[in-house]
Symmetry: C3
Subunit: 434 residues, 3 copies
C-alpha cells in the first residue's frame, strides 16, 4: 500500500488489469530474458568430461531431487480443501521459473569461466536444490497470494538465496574458485522458511486474521498431500546427498533415512500425546515426519555414526510436531503471521535445530584436517555467526519482498477468494450449469 | 458397420456375446500365442555381456520409462469425472499387452540373430517406448470404446508402428544390420496421435457429436490426472535419452528438462491470456506442459545448445495450449473428430513442430561427419519425406483399424454408457444398496 | 481375553488408558531402546569399501524398494472407503519402526563382526525387504486393530521372520558365515501372509463376522489404491533383484517384468469371466496384477528363460484373482478369518505357487555346480520341507502374536469403529461444525 500511494497514476492504470493482464506479459518477459541470457552465456557440459565423473550416480540423484521439487512440494501443498489445483499448479510454475533463474545465477556467481556457464545434470541438480528454497517460502503465503505475486517472490527469493551463498562463499573461502565450504543444503531450509514467514507477516491484513473457513484439509485432499509428503520422505536421502562428494554420499543416504524414520515415530508420538482424546492429526504426520530430513541435512557432515542421525531425527520430529500443535496457532494470533503450510515447524525450527547439533558436535569433536569443511575453523562462534547472517538476510529480504508484493498493482486476491481455486481456475461444469 | 453387413451370420452369432464373452477368450488367446512365441524365439541376454555395457545407466532409465508408461499415461487418463478406473485400468492392460508384442516385433524385425531374440533391460526399454505410441492413440478414443476394442487397436498400432520403423530402416540404412538412423522417439508421437485421431474419426457416430455430459473433469479427478502429468514431466528426460548412446544421453536430459520448463511457463501464459476472465484451465496445464518434451524429443540430436531447447519448448507450449483452447472444439464440430485427451495438441502438433525445428536446424547447420544420423544426408526434402511417410502411414493404418473396430462384433459401448466406469466395473455398494 | 482374565488388576489399571496412554509411551520406549542399541552396536559402512562394490546399482534399487515399502504398500492399503489416513499413516509408522528393528536383527544374526553392525545402503535394502513382511501381515488385520496393536504385531513379525531366516541359515549352510542359500524374498510373502491370516483368525470376534458396511472401496479411494498398486508393480523388478548378485540382477528384472505383464492380463481375464455381467473388479486388478511379482520372486533363480517367467506370472494371476473372487468370501464365512486386503490371494497362494514352480523346475533340470543355491542339494523333498517349516512357523508365531494382541490392555477398536479413520484421526471441521 505504501508503494502504491506514491505512484497513484501508475497504480490506477494497472488496477484496470486483471490476472489476465499481468501473468501473460510477465511470463513472456521472463522467458524472453531467460532465453536471451541462456543464448549468450550458456553451453552444455562436454559429454566427454562428464563420462569420467561417475555421472550416472548424479543422474539418478538428480531425478530424485527433480521428483521432490516437482511432485513432492507441489502435492504436499494440495492439502487445502479447495486449493488443490493452485497448490500443485502454482508450485509447478514457480519451480519451472526458479530452476531456470537458479541455473543462471548459480552459473554467474560460482561457475562462470571463459564467459560461459556449463549446463548439465550437475548444475540442474544444484538449481533444483536452490529452487526448493522458493517452494519453501511459498508454503508460508499459499492461498493468500496470486500466481503473479508468487512468481515475483520466487525470483527475489532465489536471487536473495544465491546472493547469500555468494557472500558466505567470498568471506569463508580463501580462493574464490574453491569448493563451497558451506553446502547450500545447510542454508536453504532456514533461509526459505524465515523469508516466507516475513513475507507472510508483511502481507498480513485484517480480513485474514481469523481462521479462514477454507483453510483446512479433508479426507480427499489429505490423501493427496500424503502422496506429496511420502515422495519427499522417500527421496530426501538423495536431496541431502546429491551435492556431496562421492565418498560422503552413501553415508548421507543412511543418515537421512534413519533420521526420517525416527522423526516419523516422533511425529506420531507427539500428535497422539498432545490431543485430548489421543487422536492424531494427519497434517502433523505429513510434515513433522520430514523434519528429520531437514535437521540431519544441516548436520550431515558431522553425523558420522548412526545414533547421532537418529537422535537428530527424533528431536526434530518432536520440535516440529510441537510447533504444529502449539506454535502455529499462536503465531497467527500473537504475531499476526499466518503460516499456511507451517514452514516454521517443518523447515525453520528443524533447520535451526540441525545447526545447533552441527555446532555442538563440531565443538565436542573437532574434525581432522582432511575431512569436512575444515577451512571454516572450528569455533562455534563462527558457525553461529553464519546462522545469524542467514536469519538476518532472510528476514530483511523477506520484508522487502513482502513490501513489494503488497503493491496493489499485483491485485492480491480478496479475502473471501483466498484459499479457493475458483479465483484462478476454470471449472467446466460450474459455468455450464449455473 | 460396413463389415458386419457382409457377414450377418457371424455378427448375429457374436452379438449374443457381452464383454464377458469377448475379453477373456481374447486375452487367453493372446497370452497363449505370446508365450508360445517367447518359448521358441527368445532367450535372456547374457549377463556377462550386459556387464560391459554400463547396464546400470540403462536400468535406471528403463525404470523411469516404465513409470511413464504404467503410471504416467494411465493417470493422465483419469481426468474424466466418472472414468478413472477405466482410464488407469485399461491403460495398464493395454501397456502389458503392447510391451509383450513390441518385444517380439522389435526382436523379429531388428535384432533377430541365430533364431533368437535377446530379452533384456535394453529391449524392454525399447518395447516400452514403442508401447507408448499405443497409449497415445488410446487417448483419442478413450471413453468411447470398450477394452476389447482398445486391445485390438493397441496391437494393430504397435504392428503398424514397428512396420513403419522397419520400412524406414530398410530404405534409409545401407546395411540392414546398421543402427537405426531415425530414433523411434522421433516418430512415435506423430504416428500415435494421427493414428488415434483417424480411428476416432472413423468411429464417430451421431450420438456422440454433442459434448457428452460426462466428458469433463472435476477437482478430484483433476488432481489424479495431475499426478500422472507430473510423472510424465519428471521422467520425460529419461524417455528422450534412454535409447541414445551414452555420450548423447546427458545432453538430452538437460535439453528435455529445459524444454519442459519453458513449455510449462508457456502453457500458463496461453491458458490465462485466452480466457475471458484470466482463469487458467488445469487440462491445458497438465497437457501443454508436456509438449516441450514431445517437440524436443524429435529434435534432440540437433539441440546442442541450451537456448535451442528452450525455444523449442516455448513454441511447443504455445502451440499445444492454443490447440487445446481453439482447435479441439473445432475438430469436433467441423471434422467430426472427437479427441478425448487432446492427443492432437499434446503429441501431434508438437511432434510436427519438433520435425520443423529439426529440419530447419539441420539445414542451417549441417552436422559434421562423426555425429548424428548423417547417413541420411542433409537435405530438408529427405526429412520432410520421412515426416510425410509417417503421416500417411498413420492416417491410412488408423483408418483401417477404425473400420475394423467399428465392426459390431466388438459391441462398442452405447452412447449413454460412454465415459462411465459403471459399464465395465463392479461397484460394491451400488449393487447392495439398490 | 484369556490373558487379561489372568491378570485382572493389571488389565483394569490399563483399561483406563486410551490410545493416548499407550501409543506415546510405547513409541518413546521403542525409540529409546533402538537408539541405545544403535549407539553401542552400529557404525556406518566404510565409504572406501562401498566404492568398490558398484554401490550405485544398489542405491538405485534401494530407492525403488524404499518407494514400494513407504508408498506402495501404504497406498494399496487406502482402498477402504473411510480408512485412507489410517491405511497410509499406520503403514508409515509400522515401516519406520520395522526397518529400524530389522536393521538391528539382521545385523546381529547375519553380519555381526567385531562387535559392530555395519549400516549402509546394502543393509538398509535388506531391512526394507524384511520390513515388507510386516506390512504384508498388516494387510490381513487392517481396519480391525489400533496402531499400538499393529506396532506390537510388526515387531514380533519381524523378529519371527528374522529368526526363521536364521534357523534356515544355520541348518542349511555348512559355515555360518556363508551367504544365505535361500533368499529372504523366497520366504517373506508366504511367511507374512500366513502370519497375518493367523493373527486375524485369532482376533476374530462375533461382531465382525458379517461384512462391515465400511469394508468396501469407492471411486475415490479406489484410485488412491491404484496409485499404490502401480508403484508396487513398477518397482517390483527392483524388489526381486535388489539382494541378488550383480550377474543375476538384470535377468531377474526382465523375468519380473514379464511375469507382472502376464499376471496383469490374467487378472483382467478372470475378473471379467467370473462376473455375471462381465464387469471387472478394481480390487482384483490392483492385487492380482502383482501376484506375478510374488510368484516369480520365489522362483527367480530357476526362471532362466523368458517363457518360464510368463507362465509363472499367468498362473499366479489366475490363482490370485480366483482367490479374490471365490476364496476370500468363504474364508470369512467358513474359517471365521477375515482378510481385509486379501493377503492370502496376493501373497500367500502366489508364494506357494512360486515354490511349486521352483521345486518342479529344480527337479526337472538340476542346476550345474556353479550357479544358484546348490548347497541345498536338489531334492524336492528338501525344498518342500523348507516351505513346510515356513508355513508352520508363520502359523504358530501368528497364533501366539494374535493371542498377545487380543489382550484387552491394547484396547482394540469397538466393532462399530472399525474401518473408520475417525477413531484415530482429528478431522478439523467436523469438530467445529458439530
Amino acid at each position: 500500500m505504501c508503494i502504491s500511494n506514491k505512484m497513484p497514476a501508475l497504480a490506477s492504470l494497472f488496477s484496470l488489469l486483471s490476472l489476465r493482464g499481468l501473468l501473460p506479459p510477465m511470463a513472456l518477459l521472463l522467458e524472453t530474458v531467460f532465453i536471451l541470457l541462456f543464448t549468450f552465456f550458456t553451453e552444455y557440459e562436454d559429454p566427454a568430461v562428464m563420462k569420467n565423473i561417475a555421472q550416472t550416480d548424479l543422474y539418478t540423484e538428480f531425478q530424485d531431487v527433480n521428483v521432490m521439487v516437482i511432485l513432492g512440494f507441489g502435492f504436499l501443498a494440495t492439502f487445502l480443501v479447495r486449493y488443490g489445483f493452485s497448490g500443485s499448479g502454482f508450485s509447478l510454475l514457480v519451480a519451472a521459473l526458479s530452476v531456470q533463474w537458479a541455473l543462471l545465477l548459480d552459473g554467474f556467481l560460482f561457475a562462470f569461466r571463459h564467459g560461459k556457464i556449463r549446463v548439465g545434470v550437475r548444475s540442474l541438480a544444484t538449481a533444483n536444490v536452490c529452487a526448493a528454497s522458493a517452494l519453501i517460502s511459498m508454503g508460508a503465503v499459499l492461498g493468500k497470494t496470486n500466481p503473479v505475486q508468487l512468481m515475483v517472490m520466487a525470483l527475489l527469493e532465489v536471487t536473495g538465496f544465491m546472493t547469500h551463498r555468494w557472500i558466505l562463499h567470498i568471506f569463508l573461502s580463501d580462493h574464490p574458485t574453491q569448493d563451497h565450504p558451506i553446502q547450500p543444503i545447510m542454508l536453504l531450509h532456514v533461509f526459505g522458511a524465515f523469508f516466507g514467514l516475513m513475507v507472510s507477516w508483511v502481507l498480513n491484513r485484517p480480513g485474514l486474521e481469523h481462521r479462514h473457513e477454507k483453510d483446512r484439509t479433508d479426507r480427499r485432499t489429505g490423501l493427496f498431500a500424503t502422496v506429496g509428503a511420502l515422495f519427499l520422505w522417500m527421496f530426501w536421502p538423495s536431496f541431502n546427498s546429491v551435492l556431496l562428494d562421492h565418498e560422503d554420499k552413501l553415508t548421507a543416504v543412511s543418515s537421512t533415512y534413519l533420521s526420517l524414520a525416527t522423526s516419523t515415530v516422533a511425529s506420531f508420538l507427539v500428535s497422539a500425546v498432545t490431543s485430548p482424546r489421543g487422536k492424531m492429526n494427519m497434517i502433523h504426520i505429513q510434515n513433522a515426519s520430514l523434519a528429520g530430513g531437514v535437521a540431519v541435512g544441516v548436520a550431515i557432515s558431522v553425523a558420522d555414526v548412526p545414533w547421532v542421525a537418529m537422535v537428530i531425527g527424533l528431536s526434530a520430529g518432536l520440535v516440529s510436531s510441537l510447533g504444529f500443535r502449539y506454535l502455529k496457532p499462536h503465531l497467527q494470533v500473537v504475531f499476526k503471521c499466518h503460516d499456511t503450510c507451517g514452514v516454521l515447524s517443518v523447515h525453520g525450527l528443524p533447520g535451526i535445530l540441525g545447526w545447533a547439533f552441527f555446532i555442538l558436535i563440531r565443538t565436542l569433536s573437532p574434525p581432522n584436517a582432511q575431512r569436512g569443511p575444515s577451512r571454516l575453523g572450528n569455533s562455534p562462534g563462527q558457525f553461529s555467526f553464519i546462522l545469524l547472517v542467514t536469519l538476518s538476510l532472510s528476514l530483511s529480504l523477506g520484508a522487502l519482498t513482502g513490501l513489494l508484493m503488497k503493491w496493489s498493482l499485483w491485485r492480491a486476491p480478496q479475502d473471501r477468494k483466498c484459499f479457493d481455486d475458483q479465483a484462478y481456475w476454470e471449472f467446466q461444469h460450474l459455468a455450464e450449469r449455473k
